[in-house]
Amino acid sequence: MSIKKTIWFLGCLFIGLQLPAQENMQMIPAGSYKPFIKGAAEKIAIDAFMLDEYAVTNADFLVFVKANPSWAPDKVKALFADSGYLSHWPEDYLEDKSLETNKEPVVNVSWFAANAYCKWKNKRLPTMHEWEYAALALPKGETDSAALTQINNDWYSRKTPKQAEVGSIYKNQYGISDMYGLVWEWVYDFNSVVSNDDSRNSEDVIAGLFCGSASLNASDASDYVSFIRYSYRGSLKAKYTTRKMGFRCAKSIQ
């Protein structure tokens, strides 16, 4: 083997090792957590997985729509997105250059659209347990869980917050940005019923959340923001779009 080839080979190897396994994704280590809802009272085990560092932006989503015209605002089927789909985009979004660099999280997307985007990226939506588990991590450098509560409380008490850009709220200890404080996020199994009973339906669960029994079912009754998040998920349908709901993608580790 010539010297040249050796250097070339070593150079590649060196650079290859320096590159992250997945651009803009971080590994969430395996562990377990106790879900907010007591349905599964025991801790839930989570396998290690990769999670997008940032919520998907308008600029990201524009690339997807251009590559997959069936997801264009005027083409999407009513079965897969309601009429609010991408309604914050200008009508001439294909000509409008501002979207191409827009770093705000994409909102007004249905579960089906979010799911299709992640598949297109060879990724998937995180499960509810994965999302909740990753979101529990404290802000980088913090040791007191009050810091996280503060972020949440600030977010919930802002009146009509102007949409912030991704990466502008906080980064947690896994290197994931803005799990709270930016937008609500779709999860793969948002329509799970959380109950041990084989026969109960989702309406029961929602009722359980809203009436007095909530304080019995929740693992931490003081966690008001989790309460809202869980009950909000229960009220969604997969074709719904709202101006406060975005998503990020995950990937299993093989």
Binding site: C12, K77, K121, S192, D198
Partner: protein, 203 residues
């Protein structure tokens, strides 16, 4: 100098390898929309038959929902190891079947299983036999992803428990001949009348 060139080249190679890794899959998405079947092209936007999911029926034959275009349908989701709710739900549907007359001869009853691991076509056939489900009943086995997607358009919540059973909503739906949902009924031990009436409107 030579080294710099070689190094830059190596850099380029690594980056193009990276770029390749991140290139999105071209063919995957429209994830579930079939555009190739003429049957599906004429379906209305609200039709759940727009999915191109491949199912297996209880005879282990490939099955697409669009195959029953033109038939009025009663649909629900269940799993055969279910001890309590599903037998009651199937029983509710059998009561509907008993109310049907000659004009309803095209009506199909479609049961989609949540349980992609245990509810194999063979198992579904056995279940159909035990339950006395005849020619008008279609029991479907599919993979986890398509089960999730169909549950979302049917608006049937479910969650797998650690013991392998499923907690799920008990919902029966009536679909018109194009596969659009025209009626749904929550609950167990429901009377057949509302479903029969919904069917009468879509014959």
């Amino acid at each position: 100098m030579k080294l710099v060139i070689i190094f830059s080249f190596a850099l380029l190679v690594s980056f193009s390898a990276l770029a390749q890794k991140d290139t999105p899959a071209k063919s995957c998405c429209s994830p579930m929309l079939a555009t190739n079947s003429p049957q599906q092209e004429t379906l209305p936007e609200t039709s759940i038959y727009q999915f191109d999911h491949q199912w297996k029926n209880q005879y282990n034959q490939s099955f697409q929902l669009a195959d029953i275009t033109g038939k009025p349908v009663v649909m629900t989701m269940m799993f055969t190891h279910c001890e309590y709710a599903c037998p009651m739900m199937v029983n509710d549907l059998k009561k509907v079947e008993k109310e049907l007359t000659k004009k309803h001869e095209d009506v199909k009853f479609v049961l989609i299983s949540f349980d992609h691991l245990r509810d194999t076509p063979e198992r579904l056939q056995e279940y159909a036999k035990t339950q006395g489900l005849g020619e008008n009943w279609i029991l479907l086995h599919g993979d986890a992803e398509q089960i999730k997607e169909i549950s979302l358009v049917l608006d049937i919540s479910y969650e797998q428990m650690e013991n392998g059973a499923f907690a799920h909503a008990n919902k029966k739906l009536v679909l018109d001949k194009d596969g659009s949902i025209v009626f749904s009924l929550d609950g167990l031990q429901t009377k057949p009348k509302p479903i029969v009436e919904a069917l009468n409107k879509v014959l």
